[in-house]
Symmetry: C2
Subunit: 255 residues, 2 copies
Amino acid sequence: MEKLTIIKVGGKIVEEEDSQKQLLADFKNIKGNKLLVHGGGRSATKLAERLGIETKMVNGRRITDKDMLDVVTMVYGGLVNKNIVAGLQALGVNALGLTGADMNLIRSEKRPVKDIDYGYVGDVKEVNTEFLSTLILQGIVPIIAPLTHDKQGNILNTNADTIAGETAKALAKVFDVSLVFCFEKKGVLMDENDDESVIKELSKNDFERLVAEKVIQGGMIPKLENSFDAIAAGVKEVIITQASEIGKASGTRVQ
Amino acid sequence: MEKLTIIKVGGKIVEEEDSQKQLLADFKNIKGNKLLVHGGGRSATKLAERLGIETKMVNGRRITDKDMLDVVTMVYGGLVNKNIVAGLQALGVNALGLTGADMNLIRSEKRPVKDIDYGYVGDVKEVNTEFLSTLILQGIVPIIAPLTHDKQGNILNTNADTIAGETAKALAKVFDVSLVFCFEKKGVLMDENDDESVIKELSKNDFERLVAEKVIQGGMIPKLENSFDAIAAGVKEVIITQASEIGKASGTRVQ
């Protein structure tokens, strides 16, 4: 099987000009097949504010009414995605910007309302492995915005970590997938006050013990649970690292 | 050669929910290979207004400073494009939303400043015939937003009629291309006060005579000049018609 590196980068890095430039240069240097999933939340919040649309977050997730859906469609699918594509093309990377609606790549369902109505937010149901792998094998580099569709005409706002994870699992049938989640720190830390205390390798047993010991907590827990899910579904490795370290053998390796 | 129908639809039709729905249903019914180029000017102007950005037009062209470039990137590349894609996917059309930056499909150059500085506006230099025709021959239906790039990292705002014309000319090497320009009237009219006075067939000689006689004037002249250019470059036919008539044998046939 050929190798495929899937990089997920959050908002801040792709939204500021200098850090985006560095990211794209680093991304260009990754050898072989690759795919980028990006966020854009800060820009969406900023645009919403300028338009007088209130941003409501619950458990770190954006409540997406019709107006907010238009905002994220514009920011994620347009502004952030197309600027990354143009930036990579300038570096000679054959980037193609996509949402889950394009070629029906990622079908989702509107999240059912239980305690909270998240609005136009999608839970991923199906990734079109065939189309996506065909593009990649043609030398195209997909740049995926965190938007999916329900195949009934609606765009749905979808968490970028989830898109990266589900895409990695689907493509693991065709490629040896390395999934890289970029965040603010150099990796999962043994001591949150020591940025250098990166855990190099993390097994599921270690993870469960460290959660019980409250060494690992907060938003890192769902991120790692997703990572172990991906491994269980055939993804070869998941790396949690800083954007500046992509392509290097650093960060926390989940296996 | 296989047939390919290229449809260009302006802003209003794709920007209003009801007319967009009808357009997509009509577009779905076009048999064989097809490609859609859309506008979105009205929505861009509306968003710009809400953001306190002034819209300046010269000779029907939008002056595109950095703020306006962000607006059109969001509206054309995000909002309008992705809603069309999701709408077509719901109808079973395998739509893929694109700008000229994606896969380096359409490279342009920033328009040189002479009397007027149009800002981030691109003149088309090169269409990537190979990638575009490969997609189409795979059964994919490209939906192209009026944005290109300069391959130096900049998105450039580009007239949708020009994109349709240049794409048609490039693809004429691979396909028997019918290029359909949709506008408000049923076709080119002999009498501007009689909507039924459609000229069925228009040759270059007829055109020149009718311009001299001032039967054809205003914005229709550059549209028809572009059409004759396309014919001269190998496009099989150019049809000027109303959006509601696409796929039917009506309107004005330029040849």
